[in-house]
């Protein structure tokens, strides 16, 4: 990412490549080898998707990412979330950085730097919009000085911290070299020198009527002070303050600009050097530093979101990622979009466990409606996707498998009017998924074919099940047809549950148990005392 003075925007390198601008060469090969990007171990990928993946809406990840990136539009973070990582090394690289940023010390210095960079962008914006050359140049100088200071500060703070992650460690190394580089030291020195000289400038101003004169400074005692002394005998504590605040703004009006011109005539050499500095240092920023400033926000956004949920007692952890199929499990996991909402409303959250081991691939989720089945399915998908972004995942002790793609099929309510076409469309979509998915995919099916007859649904589900068994992909399938689980040893059954004795109350717990279609019906019958036993007892002969 680089700041283009001409357009006044930060242009990301991938944009610039498209527009044919040559990418800036790193300072030396040394950095090239050691530090590429805080997000990508091996440098940014050639392509980052600007489009939201299809499954985002179904898994409520769109809500999650919207919340995470709220107020961070300037960083254009969403593409980072739209693109998952494909190899365990890259994920580990991010996990390390993410873990490290959980430390308040490190976070603070990164956030301080981010705020400084935001201000610098504003300052440059201001400079660009400034119509008065002497001020434009000064605003630019102020921004450059701020930039140098902020980088110095960031470096100094990072030096004092024990960095363990490859990413931050390499970045610190890069900063050290950058700060020592000719380019940086030169602008730092020059900007400081001019700033000091400007800071020492004093002059006299005489206004009379509409005439304004700028004169060389001829120091006298402050007459306000003299006046205060004179009337000190009339001064009492707690007197009414007649002073109105004069809030400082860097904005300049044309009268001030004219005065500034006058000041420049008193100090011609100094203002000339300011002008020279402005023209010769337009590209003062470093691409890697700017990229860091943007990319680190990915981590900050993520951590802020998770911390809000953590504050309400829900755990997060860094998942184990296995490259080959094996155990997939999570303890105390939950839907993070729901958890965030509940945290905002200060409501309790129900957490669930699951485990697939050995040859197990498919979880069939059944049980009473409104019992947390869909949420559970979403959780499964979120876990996998967050893991491949290198983010912390909800739960403690989580292991997931590396996947090539996530496919979801959730019921689309808006199509209910046209039953036939919806049914057809369902089939088309399922078909597409089965065609595209591989053994390394994650598939999430939610109440498919619920709008057709039981007979049809049974038939189709059996067919789909056969496909899944053949694919051997990890799948979670929410369905009322719980006998599906009997079709294969690779399928396990989980059910949403109700409070014992009160079937109307949901626990939102989804637990692993053999399909037991009667349990729910029985509990309701008991509640109404119409079970066999109860009826026998109640009906007296």
């Amino acid at each position: 990412m680089i700041y283009e003075y001409a357009t006044g925007t930060f242009v990301h390198s991938w944009h610039r490549e498209k527009s044919g601008v040559v990418k800036q060469q790193p300072l030396s090969n040394k950095y090239f080898m050691s530090f590429q990007s805080i997000l990508y171990k091996n440098g940014p990928p050639d392509r980052v998707s600007e489009n939201m993946p299809a499954f985002f809406t179904d898994l409520h990840l769109d809500q999650v990412v919207d919340k995470m990136t709220e107020g961070k539009d300037e960083y254009h973070l969403k593409p980072f979330f739209y693109t998952g990582l494909q190899d365990a090394d890259s994920i580990l690289y991010r996990q390390q950085v993410m873990k490290e940023l959980e430390s308040p010390d490190i976070r603070l210095c990164v956030e301080t730097f981010a705020r400084a960079m935001q201000q610098i962008r504003k300052m440059l914006q201001h400079s660009r919009n400034c119509p008065y050359p002497y001020q434009r140049e000064r605003l630019f100088l102020d921004a450059v000085a701020r930039y140098c200071n902020s980088i110095g500060l960031l470096h100094q703070q990072l030096q004092a911290l024990p960095l363990k992650s490859d990413g931050l460690y390499a970045f610190r190394q890069y900063l050290s070299d950058y700060i020592a580089s000719e380019i940086f030291t030169t602008i730092n020195r020059k900007s400081e020198k001019i700033l000091n000289e400007l800071g020492a400038v004093t002059y006299d101003l005489h206004t009379e009527g509409l005439t304004v004169r700028v004169l060389p400074c001829q120091p006298q005692p402050d007459y306000s002070e003299v006046t205060e002394q004179l009337y000190s005998r009339f001064r009492v504590p707690g007197a009414k303050d007649y002073t109105k605040p004069f809030p400082f703004t860097t904005d300049m009006n044309h009268v001030e600009a004219e005065i500034l011109k006058g000041v420049a005539t008193l100090f011609p050499e100094l203002f000339q050097s300011l002008c020279d500095f402005f023209t010769s240092n337009q590209n003062f920023t470093d691409d890697f530093v700017l990229a860091f400033d943007r990319e680190i926000q990915f981590y900050i956004a993520c951590l802020h979101y998770c911390e809000k949920i953590k504050a309400h007692g829900a755990p997060f952890c860094y998942p184990e990622i296995t490259a080959t199929a094996g155990k997939v499990y999570a303890h105390e996991t939950f839907d993070i979009a729901l958890a965030y909402k509940l945290a905002e409303q200060n409501q309790p959250l129900v957490r669930n466990d699951f485990m697939l081991s050995g040859e197990e691939r498919v979880i069939i989720v059944s049980g009473p409606n409104q019992g947390g089945k869909t949420t559970f399915a979403r959780t499964f998908g979120q876990l996998h996707y967050l893991a491949c972004l290198g983010c912390p995942v909800p739960g403690n002790a989580v292991q997931v498998v590396l996947f090539d793609a996530i496919y979801t099929h959730f019921e689309r309510e808006e199509d209910i009017a046209t039953h036939r076409s919806k049914f057809e469309e369902d089939l088309v979509r399922i078909h597409a998924i089965m065609q595209a998915a591989s053994g390394q995919s994650v598939i999430i099916l939610n109440e498919i074919f619920s709008s057709t007859t039981l007979q049809d649904a049974l038939f189709l589900c059996r067919k789909i099940m056969q496909h899944l068994i053949r694919l051997n992909a990890y799948c979670i399938w929410v369905t009322f047809i719980d006998e599906l689980v009997t079709l294969s040893d690779t399928a396990v059954s989980m059910e949403s549950t109700v409070v014992p004795g009160n079937p109307a109350a949901r626990t939102f717990k989804v637990i692993r148990k053999a399909p037991d279609g009667m349990a729910y019906a029985l509990s309701i019958a008991e509640k109404y005392r119409v079970t066999y036993k109860q009826l026998k007892e109640r009906i007296h002969s």
């Binding site: 605003l139 700028v214 004169l215 005998r233 009339f234 009414k240 009268v255």
Partner: protein
């Protein structure tokens, strides 16, 4: 600069919170009559007098004597005092015509308004000083002498010259000169106003302006935003000086306001003095005794409120109650018992205020609270509720009363049968006097009076409203043992005319 005419070391605060029982005290002692007489229809006096009066219970002996001396000066040289009062009044009024600063937020306007205001005030201060120094040689009181001394020291001629010089500089006739530092964003900042004597303009400069030296530019007269910008800069430059001057003006205004308020009290005293003198009623400056061993003596003590409302001299009582903590008054109805009780309360408050008292002689300890517990005339029907209410008021008093205080009971605790009332009252009174509280108790409760009389304590004094041999009241109280009956039959006969 403070007038300090009410307190040797503090200002009068007209907004000070009044003691909690102010309203009750005013009503029970009928102080409004006194206040009306003192204020003589003047609004300011009507506000100041009650404030000073009610806050007087906090005064120490030094303050009381300080005021007595000033009041004596006021009685002797009332024209000078009136003149100072009128001058302070005029100074305060002048603000209305000269001060425009409150309508603007521009420091330059505040400054120019303050400069002209200060000119006016300086004039009044000079007149005040001149008058006070010339006329005030006759004053004897520490308060007035200190006041004149302050004016002489703080407002000498050199100071007035310095003010005049400063005001002409701050009129900014030759424009505003300021030293400026270049700050962030190449803006001007750290403005420091500089003294500036412009070059003398010759008449021909109006037609042939002299060449302006150095870098300069002119803002076009129709460039409104430019003029506004310049205004902003000018405002910032003069802000501090404007504030100083405006605050000084406020202080001077406050000085005159305080002066007027403090003198208003003494003018109120003079009004009362004149009125009582005109009625031929005696007045005297009391002898103030410190807290401690009971001192309470009076000659021809009367209730000024009664005298004023009847517009005639009224009968005074003598009191000789040194060493007495309990003064119990019984006797004839309409025999002047309540009036006597009021005269004690009013005299105490007048003494505490630093005033003369309505008596030929008066001597008493100071106290820092005066309480009244008077029978309520209204609400005859609900006897039990009334007794409840009486005890409730006693509860309020009990939470404020301290040793050394003065309390006046008027027919208290009689809203029940005599035995109960006596028992309650005697328990209360016993507790109070043992706590070193001065108790005046007007009562019909014979049991109560007898209870204390039989103790034969030296600390108790029993007064009785007597009657002349012709059964007409002379409203004089005499030291006498309580009698089992009051003079109700007399009254009955008088009213029923048989």
């Amino acid at each position: 600069m403070k007038p300090h005419l009410l307190y040797p070391d503090q200002d009068f605060n007209i907004k000070a919170a009044m003691p909690w029982n102010t309203v009750v005290l005013s009503k029970d002692l009928e102080l409004q009559v006194l206040f009306d007489c003192m204020s003589g229809g003047d609004e300011l006096l009507a506000e100041v007098v009650p404030g000073v009066f009610h806050s007087s219970v906090e005064n120490n002996i030094t303050t009381i004597l300080y005021r007595q001396a000033i009041l004596k000066d006021c009685i002797s040289f009332r024209e000078i005092v009136q003149e100072i009062y009128d001058l302070s009044f005029a100074a305060i009024e002048s603000r209305k015509s000269s001060w425009l600063g409150i309508f603007t937020s521009h420091a330059t306007s505040v400054l120019s308004s303050s400069v002209s205001m200060m000119r006016v005030y300086a004039g009044y201060l000079l007149r005040l000083r001149t008058m006070a120094v010339e006329q005030g040689k006759k004053f004897r009181s520490e308060g007035f002498l200190q006041f004149i001394h302050t004016l002489q020291i703080e407002l000498d001629d050199a100071y007035f010259d310095a003010i005049e010089n400063n005001l002409s500089q701050l009129s900014l006739k030759s424009g505003i000169l300021t030293a400026v530092r270049l700050v962030e964003a190449n803006k001007g900042g750290g403005y420091s106003l500089q003294q500036y004597e412009g070059k003398k303009r010759k008449w021909w400069h109006r037609f042939f302006p002299p060449k302006i030296e150095g870098y300069y530019f002119n803002i076009h007269p129709r460039d409104e935003s430019g003029i506004q910008a310049l205004q902003q800069i000018n405002d910032e430059i003069v802000s501090r000086a404007a504030n100083t001057l405006a605050q000084s003006n406020d202080h001077i205004l406050q000085f005159f306001t305080l002066l007027r308020q403090e003198l208003a009290f003494y003018l109120g005293c003079l009004n009362l003095y004149d009125k009582l003198k005109a009625l031929g009623a005696p007045v005297a400056f009391p002898v103030v005794a410190p807290p401690g061993s009971p001192v309470h003596c009076a000659k021809a003590l009367y209730d000024p409120c009664l005298a004023l409302s009847m517009s005639k001299q009224v009968v005074g009582n003598d009191l000789s109650a040194d060493q007495c903590r309990l003064i119990m008054i019984s006797g004839a109805n309409q025999g002047g018992k309540s009036t006597f009780l009021r005269s004690i309360g009013v005299a105490q408050l007048m003494m505490q205020s630093g005033m003369f008292v309505a008596a030929a002689e008066y001597r008493a300890n100071i106290t820092n609270q005066v309480f009244t517990h008077f029978k309520k005339e209204e609400d005859h029907t609900m006897q039990s509720g009334k007794f409840d209410e009486e005890l409730s008021r006693m509860n309020d008093i009990a939470s404020h009363i301290r040793p050394g205080n003065l309390i006046l009971f008027n027919e208290s605790f009689a809203a029940t049968n005599e035995r109960e009332g006596s028992e309650i009252a005697s328990q209360i009174v016993t507790a109070l006097i043992e706590k070193d509280i001065r108790v005046f108790f007007v009562t019909h409760l014979y049991d109560l009076a007898l209870h204390f009389y039989e103790k034969k304590s030296r600390e108790s004094l029993f007064l009785r409203a007597g009657r002349l041999e012709d059964a007409g009241r002379d409203f004089k109280l005499k030291e006498a043992a309580p009698l089992p009956t009051s003079y109700g039959p007399d009254l009955y006969r008088k009213i029923f005319d048989d």
